[in-house]
Symmetry: C2
Subunit: 254 residues, 2 copies
DNA sequence: CTAAACGTTGACGCTGCGTCAATGTCAAGC
DNA sequence: GCTTGACATTGACGCAGCGTCAACGTTTAG
């Protein structure tokens, strides 16, 4: 009979799995009165029916939108309408976003200042390279004019082009940092995909050897050796990861 | 002698005022070992010298950029370089921003769905107006074709124009909500400036009476009476504030 | 009958202080 | 020498939303 289904209720773990919330969360919602169980067994166990499940779904939906539990409670009590609550919350989110915008701008400015100048990216890159132990090797292999060529390329760009290039470099750095944070290995598929992107990015800089095996490997070493470069990849730890990933990639594909 | 100045140190309240932090914050920084006082009196009082003050300034600077106290400690200990810490933090801020972006998008979508359709803004505005107690008065004064005209105006806009108009309306709503939250009075200068903006915005909609005294006042009443409009201003409370501000403005200027 | 799985009620932890509370100290004026 | 007010101290709770033990009953499958 279907009445058996209609009267059914579930244990705390069962709705936890049905809804995606944890049992701890459900007990918390009970504690603060947001979602009391529909029934409590003689053993103290909490049981929930489909009514409670529906209420839970609404709670989780609003929570995903970022509303606080008290605000959610007001909506469910009918004291506040959905649109009212969401509009208010939307406003607060916009404030937060502006705050982040300002912080990001301030940090970018600070980082650039710490580097000692805005347009030194390219100079630093090759200048830094020269500072490494690989200087001789590089000059022998790719010529002493590599620096000059790249410098001319950089100076030839418009401000917008420079900004776009910088943004691209930052996105790459951001992804490297995320990769490190996620705990994957340098030889994993994801890391190797990043390495490929990195090499393609390098190849887009004229005057450099580009996708050349020893150049890529040497560059990786430099990221670790020179803090100014490592900073783009989340510091020494990140730079080490990038170096290892690049080496694996270069030895396998270049 | 200048040596008297060089050896000076300050009480906790004094550096609090010098730095802008509160004394509670300073005691907290002492508790967690982030900024110990340079000297502790026999009475247990904390005293700070110019060295400690400089350290405090660095702390506050990094804190403004959003870094956590443990991260700041690492930087000051020299375990992490400035650029490393800032780059890592920058990455985390970007993640947060994307999260907010997604939430904002989801909420806007939800609100529009709740309203029952995207492009009903203008229709709702005048339709809702008609539903109020002011319908007769409005029709008598401004003619029955006001709705039709405005409807035609809205439908004549391109998608981009509509979006831009919607964004403008949302910014206005956002500012109203901020005004209410800040606790100012409806007849304050700031609120009246908003009212002016609001009226100018109204006047930009063809087919409406625009900056007409009774129209503006009646519209304000409608915001309170009809929840669909009040939602744009943070709910009933916000709508009431807008109504009062508009009335004051209209009676004084129109 | 037993072990595994699941249930319960506490209670601490995290971020960065704001905010009392209870109490001691110091400088200035009478 | 005493009072007063400003300033100092060390706790300790509170906030948002659960995660994470801990210590201990209950149900269920084998």
């Amino acid at each position: 009979m279907s009445s058996a289904d209609a009267d059914a209720d579930w244990s705390i773990q069962e709705i936890a799995r049905l809804s995606g919330a944890t049992s701890r969360t459900l007990r918390h919602y009970d504690d603060i009165g947001l979602l009391p169980p529909s029934r409590i067994g003689g053993n103290g166990y909490r049981y929930y029916d489909e009514h409670a499940l529906a209420r839970l779904q609404r709670i989780l939906l609003l929570r995903e939108l970022g509303l606080g539990l008290p605000a959610i409670a007001e909506v469910l009590e009918g004291q506040t309408s959905n649109t009212d609550a969401l509009t208010t919350h939307l406003h607060w989110l916009r404030q937060e976003q502006q705050r982040l915008d300002r912080q990001i701008g301030a940090i970018e400015t600070t980082i650039r200042k710490l580097r000692g100048g805005e347009q030194l990216m390219a100079e630093e890159m090759l200048d830094g390279f020269d500072h490494t132990q690989y200087k001789q090797e590089v000059e022998e292999r790719w010529g002493k004019d590599a620096y000059a060529k790249s410098d001319a390329w950089w100076r030839g760009m418009s401000a917008d082009e420079k900004e776009s290039w910088r943004a691209r470099a930052e996105r790459l750095g951001s992804d490297w940092i995320a990769a490190v944070a996620s705990g994957i290995a340098p030889d994993s598929d994801d890391a190797q995909a990043l390495a490929r992107r990195h090499v393609e990015w390098l190849a887009s800089i004229p005057g450099t050897p580009g996708a050349h095996r020893d150049y890529v490997i040497g560059l990786g070493e430099m990221y670790v050796a020179d803090e100014r470069f490592g900073a783009n990849y989340g510091g020494t730890e990140g730079a080490t990861f990038v170096r290892d990933a690049l080496r694996v990639y270069a030895e396998a594909n270049l």
